[in-house]
């Protein structure tokens, strides 16, 4: 069981400190797949870094703790302080970009031998690696290749092999299939699912794709602007969500075979430099009232194992029913469609104007603190 207690993760920048993860409490039982979802900049990747213990300037754990629920070789409990020593043996990661994670100048078999826990007998280890790689559907010779000689899908299989070879208790996967085509994505995800069923590890899975979460995860954590807004069983998250953000997020995208007009969710999340006082979702929320703007809703358990941070949980079924009644796109005449588009654009403009001059970029980029971003970005005009 992994326990996160009031985790606050900060980036230190020239402009000051920014809380990318702001007080997340979470209990993850053993052997489940937990998905973390939210828009770019919501803190999901930062939370992943905290879980992996990959903390270093400019990221730091300002307060809170992570307890992994197992002990290391010396019999001490593994926490955020000593998790780095357990990498690969007990906690492993499947990163998004396999190309930038594998060493390009050594063969893949050398990278397997590099493991801290691999026994001294190199030959025996390599024989095991070959067998393992074959089981996950790669030719055993593929470990004799250099990373650039393999296709993206094969490399990502190698990443899965590296992460699961030592049968760790916890596997962290940060958008592992985002760079891949759908056909290969399905293969990799089903492979991961099958390995998990065999090894019974805990997988924490970050993705922006709600469809992937639905296919893979048992539980989900929805994050918004650094806060956990909803946590519950995946099936319930999709069928009977308890937070308007979750509902709008899942109904924002079209499905094949469903002709209903979709509206999307106008506006950007608030700036983390100056988050709003009350509920952080209030500026974009169709249910928001005065209370939402002044008082922050706590994350409370509403149904067994399903918690939400919202003042108006009772009004969500109504919103869900209204969304389900949206007219078919073919029934919308030109004038109504135009009016709706203009209304959405106007709302987007309005929300962004109040959200601070520097909204977190909605472009899917890694979350980099502005100090780093500034050195990468060219000398443009001043904001």
């Amino acid at each position: 069981m992994i326990q996160l207690k009031n985790v606050v993760a900060e980036y230190t920048t020239k402009r000051g400190r920014m809380k990318a993860v702001d007080g997340v409490d979470l209990v993850i039982p053993d052997g489940v797949i937990v998905g973390i979802a939210g828009e770019s900049g919501c803190g999901k990747s930062t939370l992943m870094k905290v879980l992996y213990g990959d903390l270093g300037f400019p990221l730091s754990l300002a307060s809170g703790s992570v307890d992994y629920g197992f002990t290391n070789d010396k019999g001490q409990p593994v926490t955020d302080a000593n998790v780095q020593r357990e990498w690969f043996r007990h906690v492993s990661i499947i990163p998004q970009s396999s190309m930038s994670s594998l060493n390009p100048v050594i063969r893949i078999r050398e990278q397997f031998v590099d493991f801290p826990a691999t026994s001294k007998d190199k030959k025996a280890t390599l024989a095991k690696v070959r067998e393992f790689v074959q089981r996950i559907g790669l030719p055993p010779e593929s470990i004799d290749a250099y990373p650039h000689q393999l296709s993206g899908g094969m490399r990502q299989r190698i990443m899965v092999a590296l992460a699961t070879f030592l049968e760790p208790e916890v596997i962290l996967a940060d958008e592992p299939t985002t760079a891949l085509d759908v056909v290969v994505q399905k293969e990799i995800l089903l492979l991961l699912l099958e390995l998990q069923e065999k090894m019974r590890n805990t997988i924490i899975f970050v993705s922006h794709d709600m469809g992937v979460h639905y296919q893979l995860t048992h539980q989900m954590l929805i994050m918004y602007a650094g806060k956990a807004v909803e946590h519950g069983p995946t099936e319930e998250i999709f069928r009977a969500p308890l937070h308007p953000y979750t509902l709008l997020l899942t109904s924002a995208l079209p499905t094949i075979g469903d002709d209903r007009a979709r509206q999307g969710l106008p506006g950007s999340p608030p700036s983390l430099w100056d988050p709003p006082k009350g509920c952080r979702f209030a500026p974009r929320c169709p249910l928001a009232t005065e209370k939402c703007r002044t008082e922050e809703p706590p994350l409370v358990e509403v149904r067994p194992g399903h918690s939400s941070a919202c003042h108006h949980i009772d009004r969500i079924p109504q919103l869900q029913a209204d969304l389900a009644k949206a007219p078919s796109l073919d029934d919308l005449d030109e004038a109504r469609l135009l009016a709706q588009v203009q209304e959405n654009l106007r709302r987007e403009h309005e929300i962004d104007a109040t959200a601070d001059a520097a909204p977190p970029s909605e472009v899917d980029r890694p979350e980099i603190p502005s100090e780093v971003a500034d050195t990468v970005a060219p000398a443009g005009g001043e904001r």
Partner: protein, 276 residues
Amino acid sequence: MTTVLKAEGLRKTYKLGSFTSRVTINALDDINLDIVSDDPVIVSLVGESGSGKTTLAKTILRLVEPTAGKAWVHDQVVTGSGGMGRLDFMRMVQPIFQNPFDAFSRYRTVDTYLHETAARIAGLNGAKGRDAVDEALSSVGLDYADVVGKYPNQFSGGELQRASIARALIPHPQLIVADEPVSMIDASRRMIVINLFKALKEQYRTSFLYITHDLATAYYISDYIAVMSKGRIVEFGAARDVLSTPRHDYTKLLLSSIPTLTHKWDRTPALASTGA
């Protein structure tokens, strides 16, 4: 009836390697398309990476010279022998690219692009040019006052993508080629831009060639869809028909691989049964 978009025997071959080990890659392998309609249409081009969809878009945009074949837009030859003049072409076909931050130079303000497009392509100078820019910006929900004098990094990704849509609209083109226009935008806000395309199609009477790997949004907005694989169009037809009753095996494979919210994937064992 107007031929909105037509391609005949379009080929593009890339040659790699040296004298001794020559490899040829057929990025486009005999592409034939014929879309006839009186009303503007949205045509989606879907396929995996490496299927040739971007090469086809670039060929229609004249960024890539085809090895053989011809393409027409609105009954006029745009690429291949007998093609129209450069300026006429740019008035007729305009692009929108995937990453707006790459589309605009970091060292120039965004409004200079808009004014230049008005002056050089649409031939509108001074007050007329300003009006055209104004009109295009307001149809994508941006104010001239909010755009003028700003550099690309001062916009959010969605705003900048909308500015690049506005730029493409200024000459009132017959066809806009949009290559993965929403893949950089957060899923929650993607539909705002997708709906905008649908509205602009009616408002400007412009057809769109929408290139994407996302079959769900293609289903949502397009009138026609072409599924590409290995440089060929393997299936073409009305979008709703193709995606609800696919005929080609490749289309079926693509559809069955989408992670949907309605039903879970069929599980066929991926692990080889040898070993524990």
